[in-house]
């Protein structure tokens, strides 16, 4: 069983074809990095996977459930896919606790509280529940975003250039920490970046993307030897 299986995916913005006939497979618990220059279709691919964008053609299967094909499309809120954004996308009107709890609706309050605490411990932000996003550093904000996504136990996590706004001194540690968290939670992840170094540090394998297609998939070790 694979965490993600994309077959023959094609996406266009108006008349411009951004992704053409793309195939990609991610195994359970695997972290794959998608490496490519800006404008090669990386972000579009993430939007198509998460359901924010309707593909023209092809199918997307997440944990053996078909979520998108030419006939049907499951709406984003029903896919259970987590996403981490370049600008973190924290809700500025909610404090850390309520940001992390945002996706945990319809559960008893005590369960929500427990889950949020677990998550904050996981990303080492205990004690900052009452802070608002603007009172946190970039790295802390990114940790909140991770906690918020993982709280819902997503079947797949998408990361869109998550470290590009973080200072280089903090970045190394954050990359290591988050990789460790994902491995510990056994969450499969697709990580998009234009930085080869980040990809090598974070992912198990690296796929190079060019003009809307995957060109090359290698394990991280192989790439570093190139």
């Amino acid at each position: 069983m694979s965490a993600l299986d994309i077959k023959g995916l094609t996406c266009s913005y108006g008349l411009t074809r951004v992704i053409s006939d793309l195939n990609l497979k991610i195994a359970n618990g695997e972290i794959i990095c998608l490496l490519g220059k800006s404008g090669c279709g990386k972000s579009t691919l993430l939007k198509a996977i998460s359901g924010l964008l309707q593909p023209e053609n092809g199918s997307i299967t997440v944990h053996d459930t078909l979520v998108s094909s030419s006939e049907m499309m499951v709406s984003p809120e029903n896919r259970n896919i987590g996403m981490i954004f370049q600008d973190y996308a924290l809700f500025p009107h909610l404090d850390v606790f309520h940001n992390v709890a945002f996706g945990l609706k319809g559960q008893p309050r005590s369960d929500i509280k427990k889950r949020v605490q677990e998550m904050l411990e996981l990303v080492s932000l205990e004690g900052l529940e009452k802070r608002y996003p603007h009172e946190l550093s970039g790295g802390q904000q990114q940790r909140v975003a991770i906690a918020r996504s993982l709280a819902r136990k997503p079947s797949l996590l998408l990361l869109d250039e998550p470290f590009s706004n973080i200072d280089s001194e903090v970045r190394q540690r954050l990359i290591r920490d988050i990789r460790q968290i994902l491995k510990q939670q056994h969450v499969a992840a697709l990580f998009v970046t234009h930085s080869k170094e980040e990809g090598l540090d974070f992912a198990d394998s690296v796929a190079t993307m060019e003009q809307g297609r995957i060109r090359h998939v290698t394990t991280a070790k192989e790439v570093s030897s190139i």
Partner: protein, 566 residues
């Protein structure tokens, strides 16, 4: 860069600012002066009722205006509704409609002898008013509906901008965290737009508080009509000043609310790219509902009244007096033209003072007269009357003492008073526009021209003024249009038998024969469309390109925001 500005320039700026601010000070002083029995009489009898009506009106318009505008703003900012480009513009058109014109038209349509009730009687077989009940439009709720229909665009513009500025990733994040589009709207978009919503509430509240014509026509007594009656009816300036000071208090309250909400706004704004592909795709009943909602606002706020005005024009053009229209139109042009020129001149004076002597002190004159924008027309009229009638009395007494013939009311009884009041009220627009265009001129140009041997006046003439032309023209145009439309201040201050387009249309409305004044009313609506076109142009610029034109941009804020006040 600091320049040695001619001394006269600095003194001139301060003197002009104080002159323009003097009426407000006079109003407050006068309000504390003993006023005789009239105010006490009002206080004991009807004033409570007036205050309650004003408060209910402001609250009612706040609620209804928000309920109408926020969903429309969200639909425009976040969905792929058909005709979005045109609709987002059509939705601001009601701003061009004078509320009293709409009030008249809906009364005409909905009253007992009107077509709606006539049709109902015909279809249902009712004979007289006793057979059925029909809500009375000439009432407080009626005024709430009419004012909401023309004021909602303020709230719509502000909230739509807020929704557009909200990072789309936050909306995406909320969807991925399990929200349906509706839940995302309620839990993320609305709370994040809260500062804009509160600003919109304050604006609609200020406009509602200032409204004179609609409540007067609907015979709903409010603070505004009380000021008007106290002065024109009882002739008591001090009682009118006290009532005005009470209104001033309410305005200060509304402005503080707006300031308070803006205090936290910076936290809420984080701009990122706008991706059309992420617009919510509407289909089926949702698309239908969204279309109905937006078109309902456009039709009832603009299309239907405009259609009725054209109908009046076609059926009654023979009896409408063209010569009256020309006289009134000329008066409007004179008053509005002088106001625009004076306001622009003041704005330029203050603008350069601020540029060449940067610092806290030089900012004050411009800020000071920008407060005028917040004053309701009636309050301002009373404020202007106080120093002007003092000046008139002084001049005449002096002339008599010198053995000359008195000259009469040269200030308070002439169009000088009208123009002064409107300069105070609308300078803020010109100041905003001029400041924005000055800010765009790089300080290095100043240094370049000075090192090339320009004097300050030479530099202003050869470098700054040519570069500021567009901003100055925009300011002139917008002040001109606002002055054309101004009603209550003109009604209170105009010389005997002096009519502008606005007062004439209002007179016809009061006399229940707007049909005869259709050409003048249409002229007012067309004039009101001008700032909207400027605004729309600036909105297009600010959305698409990387280098928006700040002068109309500022204009948008002015028009939608009246922000610069206070």
């Amino acid at each position: 860069m600091k320049h040695n500005l001619p001394y006269a320039w600095r003194v001139g700026s301060w003197l002009l600012a104080l002159l323009l601010f003097l009426p407000v000070i006079a109003l407050i002083v006068e309000a504390f002066a003993p006023s005789g029995d009239i105010f006490n009489h009002l206080w004991r009898t009807v004033l409570g009722n007036y205050i309650a009506n004003s408060a209910l009106l402001v609250a009612g318009v706040g609620v209804l205006g928000t309920v109408l505008s926020v969903p429309a703003a969200w639909i425009m900012a976040r969905t792929d509704i058909p005709g979005r480009k045109v609709l987002q513009w059509l939705l601001i058109l009601p701003l061009a409609m004078p509320a009293y014109v709409i009030a008249y038209i809906y009364t005409d349509l909905l009253e007992f002898s009107g077509p709606i009730q006539g049709l109902l009687r015909h279809v249902m077989g009712w004979e007289s008013a006793a057979d059925y009940s029909f809500p009375e439009i000439r009432s407080l709720p009626g005024a709430v509906i009419v004012l909401s229909l023309v004021l909602y665009p303020y709230q719509y513009l502000l909230v739509r901008t807020a929704f557009l500025e909200q990072s789309q990733t936050q909306a995406m994040a909320s969807r991925l965290l399990g929200c349906t589009p509706l839940q995302s709207f309620l839990r993320v978009a609305i709370p994040m737009a809260r500062p804009a919503i509160i600003t919109g509430l304050a604006l609609m509240g200020m406009e509602t508080l200032a409204d004179f014509a609609t409540v007067s026509y609907f015979a709903v007594p409010t603070m505004t009509t009380a000021v008007y009656d106290t002065w024109l009816g009882y002739g008591s300036l001090s009682a009118a000043a006290r009532l005005s000071a009470l209104m001033l208090l309410a305005v200060v309250l509304l402005i503080s609310m707006e300031k308070y909400s803006r205090r936290r706004q910076s936290l809420f704004q984080r701009d990122s790219g706008y991706d059309k592909a992420l617009l919510i795709k509407l289909s089926g009943s949702k698309k239908f509902l969204a279309l109905i909602w937006c078109w309902m606002l456009v039709v009832f706020g603009f299309v239907l009244p405009a259609f009725m005005l054209l109908k009046y024009l076609l059926s009654f053009y023979k009896v409408s007096s063209i010569s009256d229209l020309l006289v009134d139109g000329t008066n409007s042009l004179i008053v509005a033209g002088s106001t625009a020129l004076a306001a622009a001149a003041a704005a330029i004076l203050f603008g350069f003072y601020q540029r060449f002597q940067p610092g806290m002190v030089s900012r004050i004159p411009g800020r000071l007269i920008s407060t005028g924008y917040a004053l309701p027309g009636t309050v301002l009229a009373i404020a202007v009357l106080i120093p002007l009638s003092l000046a008139d009395t002084g001049i005449n007494e002096l002339l008599i003492a010198l053995g000359q013939k008195p000259v009469g009311l040269v200030f308070s009884g002439s169009i000088f008073a009208v123009v002064l009041a409107m300069v105070i009220r609308f300078s803020a627009i010109a100041v905003g526009s001029v400041e924005a265009s000055l800010e765009r001129i790089s300080p290095s140009l100043d240094m370049a021209s000075r090192t090339l041997g320009c004097t300050i006046p030479g530099m202003v003439r050869r470098v700054h003024l040519p570069l500021m032309r567009k901003g100055i023209l925009t300011g002139l145009l917008l002040v001109f249009v606002e002055a054309m439309k101004e009603l209550p201040a003109v009604l209170l201050l105009r010389p005997f038998n002096f009519e502008t387009l606005a007062t004439s249309v209002f007179q016809y409305v009061s006399d229940e024969k707007l049909e005869y004044a259709a050409p003048a009313a249409i002229a007012l609506v067309v004039a009101g469309l001008v700032p909207l076109i400027v605004m729309n142009w600036s909105m297009d610029n600010s959305m698409g390109s990387n280098s928006p034109e700040p002068s109309p941009q500022q204009t948008k804020q002015q028009e939608a925001g009246h922000f610069e006040c206070a």
